[in-house]
Amino acid sequence: MNLHLPIYLDNNATTPMDPRVLDAMLPYFVEKFGNAASRNHSFGWVAEEAVDYAREQVAQLINADSKEIIFTSGATESDNLAIKGVYEMYASKGNHIITCTTEHKAVLDSCKHIEKLGGHVTYLSVNADGLIDLSELEKAITDKTILISIMYGNNEIGVIQPIKEISAIAKKHGVLFFTDATQAVGKIPVDVIDDGIDLMSFSGHKIYGPKGVGVLYVRRKNPRVKVTSQMDGGGHERGMRSGTLNVPAIVGLGKACELCRLEMTEEATRLSAMRDRLENSLMELDETYINGDKNHRLPHTANISFKYVEGEGLMMGFNKNIALSSGSACTSASLEPSYVLKALGLGDDLAHSSLRFGLGRFTTEEQIDFTIKAVTDTVNKLREMSPLWEMFKEGVDINSIEWEHH
């Protein structure tokens, strides 16, 4: 078999663009370069038509109306617009937002910004499997609560939150529900009507589309939701997001959404089977743990801790050939291990020992075979080198040792 190296298993960080998406985009750079806001000539009309078509393709994927699609520069901008925009728009109703500790930084940092402005934010904790507690959510709602912001599927562990139940609670209390669905849209069925979602963000580059383009879905009926623009000038996107539309990227995003809609069922089945095979093979190693609820998980994500080996050291054993991510502190500038894994109650040692496998549309069985062997061999090699593994094998309780902390 012809295996091309390196293997890309970091599809939760970004995905390669599907060549079919590139083909759709190409005419809109040189030939059809018009500004979609130019109403008076054919260059503008052509661009506007392309954007309208893409808006339709995007809306179809999530069962929305095309008028409910706001194009942005990506999910980070959409998260900012949703949270800050709702906070400003609904200031007369209240100033309290509920979110959870495992959210993406774009949500958490936007919430911190709200706190600086004088707003209040409740950060719900999650259980050991990464799920929020619905009764905790309901208890946290006050007469000042204007927004619940809970992500659809987690980027690190792939856990899917109980979206329908959350939206039902939000509706019951007259609170808006926003979900960052960046990892879920295009991977699993997401239906804004069925799921009861009021606002939702996602981006192009996680679904085999281009970088630099994203969506904020803003519900128009039952209830009609509005957000205060965070970018002024020109009144594009129904006044909620000004700025000349990135036509080629929007065309690409539209195509990417169409492909996901048509191929999702088959792709999810194929990916979850490969993910499960990868996971089951790696679980044959002793002292190996899957992070996140196995029954409520995105099909393409596996997050596994290999106790007694350190994540970055582990990746070094194969990162010439396999690209993936670790929850180890050493891979980040902060020297803190993954806050998501810590929120599950994992000790720092297990958080440091984790790898995240993100499978994607172009992942093959041969790549999974190669990965299983490379990871298994490296874990075994590093454990032979690990003083903690030796202690574990000798029955020494590592927690009984007084470690000096730097």
Binding site: E310, E312, M385, S386, P387, I401, W403, E404, H405
Partner: protein, 135 residues
């Protein structure tokens, strides 16, 4: 992060991985770092009682590639040195030899701490006073 060739070489072919009999009086063991911090090093020296020369050194390390390389290098340098000479090994020598970037300097500090801890253990076992830790 791009690793230097020397770090990659030590990681791929670590020198002196293993365990010495810590109950022997001529073996000193140093265990430094903490699992929570993502680095634990155990470094051991075996001293020739007549000459005072370190005749063997072994390590086991839980940590990133730079931590593994720092401890592997340390064991290489320790062998053949007298205990007093071994005390002269400075973490910056390790940084220089392995070309460690600033964020990985703590790995070299840990290796120096491990050397000192192993020597301290050897000294206490042999009725000598503990050295003041350099850090």
């Amino acid at each position: 992060m791009a690793y230097s060739d020397k770090v990659i070489d030590h990681y791929t072919n670590p020198k002196n991985v293993g365990t010495l009999d810590k109950s022997k009086t001529n073996v000193g063991t140093g265990l430094v770092g903490a699992p929570e911090c993502g680095d634990v090093m155990r470094l051991q020296i075996e001293v020739d009682e007549l000459s005072g020369v370190i005749k063997d050194a072994k390590f086991k390390t839980f940590g990133c590639g730079s931590a593994i390389a720092s401890s592997s290098l340390a064991t290489e340098w320790l062998k053949g040195k007298s205990v007093d000479e071994a005390l002269q090994i400075d973490n910056m020598d390790i940084v220089e030899e392995l070309n460690l970037p600033p964020v990985k300097i703590h790995c070299s500090v840990l290796a120096e701490d491990a050397i000192k801890a192993a020597i301290n253990d050897y000294r206490t076992k042999n009725g000598l006073s503990e050295l003041v830790n350099a850090h």
